[in-house]
């Protein structure tokens, strides 16, 4: 008898487990990705989040009907949607159609003044706004300008200027062009910054130099070091830029490898000053928590940046294969991607681009373009950030609430809702959401308004109360004094 009840109970528990556990497992299977998706909270702890992007397969040279890519180093997307891949190892530019199903054309030779010319390790590629194709022809020390069809237009030659060192070697790696057709070139070993050329190809100078940071401690030790020791220690040279992109306003986004992992991307204004905004954690350098031992440790090594839209940009980390996306204020929106052999992970990620809703990553180890499609979660965040960028906070609130349904502790979503409530004048709700989003600054604004409102509403009562209390105090004092006086008189008597 007893045994059967026990069995029943066990079965009941099992049934409950199936009912409760199964949908959960199914829901998890839906977003199964071969990498960790996480974010950092206020305490800079790692918080798991739903996946913002899921892998959508990859496209290699053979898939589109040509020979395999060989160490492709860069790619770009034209306004017509064609994808230009700098197939560095094969000395050619491969042009794919927007869906990446077939090759539209291959540019490997072009005619200059009647002579046939070829690329030598074309490292970077870029399409300008008026449809010119710029190829950083690294081993030939030149930037070749072509029509999208591959006809030669002109060439940007090695710069000649007294500000360049005598032994300066021009090895263009990455190239981009802004609205005024100024050409920005990252050259190998050019620590002074990005090389800028005018539209006609004349060199106009360096741009966006990264300052060298020497800590007080290092300075202190250098004072005591002998000349020999000093020459043995590493040189304090600024890091090179690794990737560039240009946004719709003509600002240049440039990535670099930051050994401190604090700032790996710069937003350079036309004067070459960095105007990037850093968010809550004051960090635009990829991973905040990194290990100290092994190959997998150390700060992120950012190799490329892509400006997406509405102030958002993504950076690509070659160390752990992660893609970090920030909004204009420097808040880390989501993280995805990883190093590995599974489909959807990278071996040597080198370049990143956005193609409509997809994020494309070029892998020079696997010689393919990896595709990532946004999930519902990613889409909601992208939309909400976009709406906020446009100033439409009211619309954004709905999106943020959807985000909260998928990711309960999302600080960005809480702050987004809080800001919308604050503009709408609902201070109490704003306070609630700012507290969940750990936003002290905005919480204080909301709280002050809330407190002032309570004070203003009840000022009459409060003042009356104070006056009554003062009056009562005076009366009580008088009565006490009188009693004392009587006692004294009695005592005297």
């Amino acid at each position: 008898m007893r045994k059967t009840t026990r069995l029943k109970r066990m079965l009941g528990v099992l049934a409950l487990l199936v009912i409760v556990g199964f949908p959960k497992a199914a829901a998890q299977a839906e977003v199964e990705v071969p990498y960790d998706t996480y974010n950092y909270n206020y305490w800079e702890d790692i918080v798991k989040t739903p996946a913002a992007y899921t892998p959508e397969g990859s496209v290699g040279g053979i898939d589109v009907g040509t020979t395999a890519f060989k160490e492709p180093r860069d790619f770009c997307i034209s306004e017509e949607g064609e994808i230009y891949v700098a197939d560095t190892g094969n000395d050619r530019i491969v042009v794919l159609d927007g869906h990446m199903t077939k090759v539209n054309r291959i540019i490997d030779t072009f005619t200059v003044n009647g002579d046939e010319d070829r690329f030598s390790a074309p490292y970077g590629v870029c399409i300008s706004e008026n449809g010119e194709l710029f190829v950083a022809d690294s081993n030939n020390a030149r930037v070749v300008v072509l029509t999208p069809q591959g006809e030669y237009k002109r060439v940007v030659k090695e710069p000649k200027s007294e500000i360049l060192e005598d032994d300066f070697a021009f090895i263009p790696l990455k190239v981009t062009v802004d609205y005024a057709n100024r050409i920005y070139v990252i050259s190998k070993g050019a620590f002074e910054g990005i090389l800028v050329f005018e539209a006609d190809g004349t060199f106009s100078g360096y741009f966006g130099t990264i300052d060298v940071k020497i800590s007080v401690w290092e300075k202190f030790w250098r004072r005591f070091a002998s000349k020999e020791e000093r020459s043995n220690t590493q040189l304090y040279i600024p890091t090179e830029f690794t990737g560039i992109d240009v946004d719709s306003e003509g600002f240049i986004y440039a990535s670099n490898i930051d050994s401190e992992g604090k700032q790996a991307v710069r937003r350079l204004n036309p004067q070459g000053n960095d105007v990037v905004q850093k968010g809550e954690n004051a960090n635009v350098g990829g991973d905040i928590r990194t290990g100290t031992y092994g190959d997998y440790s150390g700060p992120s090594e950012i190799v490329d940046v892509v400006y997406r839209n509405k102030g958002m940009y993504s950076i690509l980390d070659r160390k752990r294969g992660r893609i970090f996306t920030y909004d204009k204020e420097g808040n880390l929106l989501y993280i995805f991607g990883g190093i590995g052999l599974q489909d959807g992970t990278f071996q040597t990620p080198v370049a990143i681009e956005q193609n409509a809703e997809e994020i494309l990553v070029l892998d020079a180890g696997r010689n393919v373009i990896m595709k990532f499609r946004e999930t519902n979660y990613g889409n909601l965040i992208n939309d909400a950030v976009g709406l906020r960028f446009d100033g439409d906070e009211k619309q954004a609130i709905e999106k943020w609430k959807e985000v909260l349904r998928l990711d309960e502790n999302n600080e960005l979503a809480n702050n987004g809702i809080g800001k919308a409530y604050l503009t709408a004048g609902d201070n109490e709700k704003a306070m609630h959401y700012f507290e969940l989003g750990m936003n002290k600054e905005y919480y204080s604004i909301a709280y002050k308004r809330y407190r002032n409102k309570i004070l203003a509403d009840n000022l009459g009562w409060i003042l009356t109360g104070v006056i009554v209390l003062i009056f009562a105090g005076i009366v009580i004092n008088k009565i006490k004094n009188k009693k004392k006086g009587i006692n004294r008189e009695e005592g005297l008597l």
Partner: protein, 210 residues
């Protein structure tokens, strides 16, 4: 016990804090203090500390409330209290201090009272401040802790009948003694660990050989 917890003893704790020199003299020479009250005050201090960490307004509170374990904080505070008392006693014994161990416990225990009160006031206050008014909170807590340190100093000075200079020297030596005790305890723990692992490996070896 009842005598140790009487109303008079409690009242005298407050009197001591407001008149430290006078109060600690009476504690030393007329037994007006109570060890039980001192211990309760230390426990209250620990509770106030944990409450502050858990529920101070988030404007001034950078601590993840999920990480606060009030029980382990209580144990830490009590252990630190014990260590402080023992190390102070061992130093003052050698330096002609007149205070008994009991007096030291009472002096340190009673002196936590202002900090406890101010931390609780601060915690309540912190829920009604904005970011630029947070200075008030820090001021209240700071005053409480500073006054606690002052009372502790006067308490130790009075119960041992020291001059100020000598008290400061003994306090410095107390810290040294404290570190020494911690060092020795760690050494012993490590030693015991090694002996244990040695015996355990012998046991395992025997097990494998057999």
């Amino acid at each position: 016990m009842k005598n140790l917890l009487s109303k008079d003893k409690w009242k005298f704790a407050f009197h001591t804090v407001s008149h430290p020199a006078d109060g600690f003299y009476e504690i030393r020479h007329r037994d007006r203090g109570s060890v039980v009250v001192a211990l309760i005050l230390v426990i209250l201090f620990s509770v106030a500390w944990s409450v502050n960490r858990i529920s101070a307004g988030f404007i001034v509170n950078d601590i993840d409330p999920r990480e606060v374990d009030s029980l382990s904080e209580l144990i830490t505070v009590l252990l630190f209290f014990l260590l402080l008392c023992v190390s102070n006693w061992s130093i003052t014994c050698l330096m002609d201090g007149k205070g008994r161990f009991k007096d030291i416990v009472i002096a340190i225990g009673y002196s936590t009272l202002p900090a406890t009160i101010c931390i609780i006031i601060g915690t309540v206050l912190s829920r009604f401040v904005s970011e630029d008014e947070a200075a008030f909170y820090y001021m209240v807590c700071g005053v409480g802790i500073a006054y606690t340190l002052f009372v502790m100093l006067v308490g130790i000075m009075t119960v041992h009948n020291f001059t100020l200079g000598k008290t400061l020297i003994t306090l410095f030596l107390t810290i040294v003694a404290l570190l020494l005790i911690v060092f020795i305890v760690l050494l012993i723990v490590d030693l015991i660990n090694q002996v244990y692992s040695f015996l355990y490996s012998i046991y395992q070896e025997l097990l494998f050989r057999a």
